[in-house]
Symmetry: C3
Subunit: 305 residues, 3 copies
């Protein structure tokens, strides 16, 4: 069968024409969306501000560090103000560039407080993980710290009601760490996530102090079929102080409270509150073990369900 | 114990000599493998073509956008033709550069159609997630969209029988999003994956319209011990229209069909078909909850299995 | 409510002052931590050394490859010696730069042996996955190979007792692949991880030959509340030869041994040893399936737990 040769220009034209159609991803109203690349570079600057000498090329001992710090703050404020301004254009609210800049500045003013809380997270990781050789290893090697550091700063912008940008920040960290924490989540001190890949923490979850999570833990919403009708309501659980949740467990629902001092075993699916100091686990009576060598007829299956 | 000093040149020579051995990763037949870096840059260009103004530096309002679009298409076609040509050298099939270029062009001609389907995916995400403040937030912040956009384009190349390159494309997206969709998977409209990390969707899976998956869902093959003997057969399940699968569930087998309108609960392991409008979940009678304070002898374990 | 304007310089000063406080992340003792960026670039060079022509821009057929190989080895040795030297400054042990360089050189001398073992990993992936069209596809497209390649080299440095740096290397691969293998893990030949996202393998795990893991498998430690007291003890399981572990299963404890030839089903939580040739799975009697159309009163819930 003969097929006619395709032509690059014609293809480019048809793609270009599709941008002009009245559709969402054509941006035909001329709105300019925030740039993922720029916000990613802002996240890198924020890590440099939080952990100088670890991120970025300027050693902590540099005589230029004060000047470099000023440069970094200025760069974050300028870029975030522009990106947040773009984000406001695609929402129903409006805010002037001057107001946005003040909101960014108020948030950045709290960076020293964020550094104090991150100290407690590092301490919790060191205490909780026998593989950690020291606090510094936590800083340079543990992915949860990157995810939590970005979330704690993004949460400042979230509380200033800057739209979309905080979420792009936490998704930047999600992409690097496999840890997906909403910028809306409230998190206490001494927070530690071990390994981390697959962790999901929803927008309205509340997490107390000294909480430890393992990989694959999800703090999620119930009744998701209601969709947009639930926007703004508390949909995700509350985890009180001194709780440990082992790998792969999901805790669901906005009125679910895991009481202080509780331990949730692995692969638990918990949809209601438990009192303080609970231990929650699956009955282990159901694990089946048989030998491949005792099959009737001598047939050995590698795996059959 | 005295150890003799090692020498950089001697080490380099021994590594270099190992390249000349008759082994796979020595490439001693002179074959040149496709470059992951180049295909990664092609994926970036494809995202720029699909979502101009969001990816890439050219604003959607730019008077240069038509020219830039042509430049992007040309770049994708040139680079993919070269990489696919390399890929053909390592398979048993052969194809001329001219034939490969035509296959790439035929695929790229369908990019406007892919954009139409992606509109429906964005709509599904907005409808399904109360955390989404608007359609634009989905475009700039939701990782599933990046994974699905790359998969939908890679699937065009897969259907043109271009070897290896489509898989490198979806693995590029997997690395960024934690979502692993084979380029072979057929996916209907209005597809949404929430959170996404840990999702695995196999080569011969078929997914209807209005399907919603959560993080950690796997659509996988049975009897994997048969290995290469199964190459080309339908090994992965079929998910009909309007199905939701909650987090961590695995659905297995090429003849497994999840009927339209069904809901699969979290952490289910399903290995057979279910009729339309089924609800599938684990019996919840087995969750054990005890207090840490009521242990005989007063001993409190933090965790014991 | 009037809020006073914030000032970039004042904010930068307060952040800078926070670096001078007596805290861990202030690095006030002048210690310089290893750079994640530099160690990431070392990992890229190591992939180029292991898989020339696939990673890096120099084709395998290049007449310059011998020279390029020498340059790459020299670059790795120089950068790793410096970063490991920094890492020693933050531990209780000390080592001279000359001793560190010799340890790095001794490790690099074993790169050809690592290449030989990686050949067996590629062979195992090709044999085990019907989706693989050939060995070369495994090399260019399978994320597990990147994670295992970096782990096998990092393990050489780990055995030379270089602190922190090996862990930063495996976390670099974790970020790219979602596969988290400790540099301490001992791994036999013909190792294959399919899909891989969410896999966690602890520091003292031992893995035999011909072991195959799926996404989300965790080889983890028991009694983690003991924390630092367990540093250095065997805390993670032993997996003997020819074992397959399906997706989402966790195997726990330093004295847990999975006997040779065993198969562990999906989503199993195993906390004790099983003899050779065991098949371990959950009783499947507990899956509940009901129709949405047979609800008393005619009410149809989409999902209710």
């Amino acid at each position: 069968m003969h097929r006619p040769a395709e032509n690059v220009s014609a293809i480019a034209d048809s793609i270009f024409e599709s941008y002009r159609l009245e559709r969402r991803i054509g941006n035909t109203d001329g709105s300019i969306l925030p740039s993922k690349e720029v916000i990613g570079s802002v996240c890198e600057s924020i890590l440099e501000l939080l952990f100088p000498g670890v991120y970025g090329e300027e050693p902590i001992t540099s005589p230029h560090l004060r000047m470099v710090t000023g440069h970094r703050v200025r760069g974050v404020v300028t870029r975030l103000t522009i990106e947040a301004w773009k984000a406001f254009q695609i929402t129903e609210n409006r805010s002037s560039a001057a107001e946005i800049e003040q909101a960014v500045l108020r948030s950045m003013k709290k960076v020293p407080e964020v550094r104090e809380v991150l100290e407690t997270d590092i301490e919790a990781a060191y205490r909780g993980d026998p593989a950690a050789a020291g606090h510094d290893e936590v800083i340079v090697a543990y992915p949860f710290l990157e995810a939590v550091a970005i979330q704690r700063v993004a949460h400042l912008f979230y509380r200033e009601n800057l739209p979309v940008v905080p979420r792009i920040m936490t998704e930047w960290a999600h992409s690097r760490t496999g840890i997906d924490i909403s910028p809306g989540t409230e998190i206490g001190s001494h927070f530690f996530i071990d390994h981390g890949t697959g962790v999901v923490i929803g927008e309205t979850a509340k997490i107390g102090s000294n909480v430890k999570l393992y990989q694959g833990v999800a703090l999620i919403a119930r009744s998701l079929s209601a969709g947009q009708a639930l926007h703004g309501q508390k949909r995700h659980p509350t985890i009180e102080d001194n709780v440990t949740v082992y790998s792969g467990s999901s805790i669901m629902g906005g009125d679910t409270v895991v009481g202080a001092g509780s331990t949730i075993g692995a692969n638990v699916f918990l949809t209601h509150s438990v009192p303080p100091r609970s231990v929650v686990y699956f009955d282990k009576g159901k694990l089946q073990i048989r030998s491949k060598d005792n099959r009737p007829g001598g047939v050995i299956e590698d795996w059959a369900i």
